[in-house]
């Protein structure tokens, strides 16, 4: 099993030139997701127009797999009805978990990540963007959002504070 199977050219291309990067202006919903194993994190911003994905962006910090998968995700979901985009998310999840035959039509460029399924540690990296999208889309379709809330941050900040506790005060 060679590196080229894992790091397909499409993946390296999206890693080097991520599509729809950064925070989304006028996002309807923003969610922050983490991969606690490696510290990867990203914010997915989403705006719907009726039931269609009108805008999507990812502000990602992480490895090539997580960044590229999130970048591909934004291209895949843009302009699609939410229901169809969620079907894509599910197709990608099944690809990563090796469940059934890949649905290449739904997956689009996502099929390039097929080799990742053989590296269990990296599967979480590849899924990070899609899981965040699923979270954001479900919230947006359910009418949540607006304001400055970034879903997923509050809980983490508590954990971060607990983890660093008084360590910051230790510098006084």
């Amino acid at each position: 099993m060679g590196l080229d199977d894992l790091y397909q050219e499409i993946i390296l291309d999206h890693y080097r030139r991520p599509r729809n990067p950064g925070r989304l202006e006028n996002a309807q919903v923003e969610v922050r997701h983490y991969n606690p194993v490696c510290g990867d994190e990203l914010v997915v911003g989403l705006r719907l127009d009726g039931d269609r994905v009108a805008a999507a962006a990812v502000d990602a910090k992480g490895c090539s797999i997580s960044q590229a998968a999130a970048s591909v995700m934004t291209e895949q979901v843009l302009g699609r009805p939410v229901g169809e985009a969620l079907d894509q998310a599910e197709a990608f999840r099944r690809l990563m978990h090796g469940e059934g035959e890949p649905d290449e039509e739904l997956l689009g460029d996502g099929i390039a990540f097929k080799g990742v399924a053989r590296y269990p540690v990296r599967v979480k990296c590849a899924l990070l963007g899609w899981m965040a999208f699923k979270d954001a889309a479900t919230r947006a379709a359910g009418g949540q959002g607006g304001g400055a809330t970034v879903y997923g941050e509050e809980q983490d900040e508590t954990a971060v504070r607990a983890a660093r506790g008084d360590t910051r005060e230790g510098r006084t």
Binding site: K61, R122, D166, T167, E169, G170, R171
Partner: protein, 412 residues
């Protein structure tokens, strides 16, 4: 025993480690992840195999021959470990790892002795195993967890330590060797200062026992924890050693079999130390394996093991330092650090670095190394860490350097 000045015969040492003959992805294994877990010599594997094939029985219970043999082997291993780390056998407790050793102290000592307003002093470079147990007990007692900061030179800020130590400080929990930076902390000096304000000191010696042979008596600390699997022994056995009188005064951590003297329905009197702290059937084969690992290390001599690691680490610092865009996190002087080098390579994520190296059979660790507060302090999400042990060679460092060149070309 050979004189301490004779260098380690690394080729002979490597011959004792069957796993080093393995090929990974078509290449000879280059194992540079010993800080996560060491590989095991056949002497350890044989001791464990022999235990299960010939002596297996439950310990401290039966009168039959096998039970006596198993008990003897288990207690003999305790004696070896105790002598290795300068503790009394009575104050040498088998746990399952360092996390359990720290939890034992946090709960059995901390829960009963900490009050609201008391302070637990840790450092910014602690592994989560020497941080989270204190947070849990702080939450239950109202004590505060404070931390000694890390300087820009990747050392503990000892001036800040003096400012933090005070009458509220009840215990100082400090790593003897950072698992990320490699920093060797001046634990004996820290212990002197902590004792001057009446605080106890716990040393997390997960890295320092296997790689520097530190001891409870020479460090002058009250508690010291280490784990077998990083010291050529098996997973599943760790050790807490302590000053005997401290342990004597402590109530149990976990309840169950073995740790009792007498039990009635509503009350129990405790067994003597160390068994008071070893509830339930212990990992006997693992303890026996650790005893064999200690024998192996002592036959070579810890000073020679350390000298070899200093050589390999010094070579690694030099070679890695020559790579463009590679940043090393840790003290620059090899005398102040253990056998590991954490680094980042440009903005290539450590997971990608490790993945490409793995394709060439090179095993390194990538991630936050269970030290997230430290990584936050360093301003990085993750690092790549190459770590060495008595079987590591400069040829393996060369393989790593060649692998990193490939990583750069791949993601460039």
């Amino acid at each position: 025993m050979t004189t301490p000045t004779a260098p380690l015969d690394v080729a002979a040492v490597r011959g004792d480690f069957p796993i080093l003959e393995r090929r990974v992805n078509g290449n000879p294994l280059v194992y540079l992840d010993s800080a996560a877990t060491s590989q095991k010599p056949r002497q350890v594997l044989d001791a464990m195999d022999d235990y299960y094939r010939r002596h297996n029985a439950n310990v401290h219970r039966g009168v039959h021959t096998l039970a006596e043999e198993a008990t003897h082997l288990f207690e003999e291993a305790r004696g070896k470990v105790a002598r290795f780390v300068g503790a009394s056998e009575r104050a040498t407790v088998f746990t399952k790892n360092v996390s359990e050793a720290v939890n034992l102290v946090a709960y059995a000592w901390g829960l009963r002795n900490l009050r609201e307003g008391d302070e637990i002093l840790v450092t910014e470079m602690e592994h989560h195993s020497n941080l989270v147990p204190w947070q849990l007990v702080a939450r239950l007692t109202g004590a505060r967890v404070r931390a000694v900061p890390v300087t820009g030179d990747y050392l503990l800020d000892l001036d800040a330590l003096d400012g933090l130590l005070g009458e509220r400080t009840r215990i100082v929990a400090v790593s003897a060797m950072s698992n990320v930076l490699g920093t060797v902390n001046p634990v004996a000096e820290i212990a002197r200062r902590a004792h001057a304000v009446g605080a106890l000191v716990l040393a997390d010696a997960a890295q320092a026992v296997p790689h520097a042979g530190v001891r409870l008596d020479t460090l002058g600390v009250d508690f010291l924890g280490f784990t077998g699997h990083k010291a050529l022994g098996p997973m599943g056995v760790g050790v807490l050693v302590a000053r005997e009188e401290l342990l004597e005064g402590m109530e149990p951590f976990l309840g169950g079999g073995e740790m009792i003297r007498d039990v009635e329905i509503d009350r129990t009197t405790w067994n003597d130390i160390p068994w008071r702290f070893e509830a339930g059937t212990p990992n006997v084969a693992e303890a026996v394996g650790l005893g064999a690992a200690v024998d192996y290390l002592q036959a070579l001599g810890m000073d020679r093991v350390r000298a070899h690691e200093v050589d390999v680490t010094g070579y690694a610092l030099k070679r890695l330092g020559e790579i463009d865009g590679l940043r090393i996190y840790g003290p620059s002087e090899v005398e102040h650090r253990g056998g590991m080098v954490s680094f980042t390579l440009g903005d290539i994520h450590p997971h990608d670095v490790a993945q490409v190296l793995d394709a060439d059979g090179i095993a390194v660790r990538a991630g936050h190394h269970c030290a997230k507060p430290l990584l936050r302090r360093l301003g990085v999400q993750a690092t790549t860490r190459a770590s060495f042990y008595l079987y590591s060679t400069t040829d393996e460092v060369d393989a790593l350097v060649a692998g990193l060149d490939k990583v750069r070309r791949f993601f460039g």
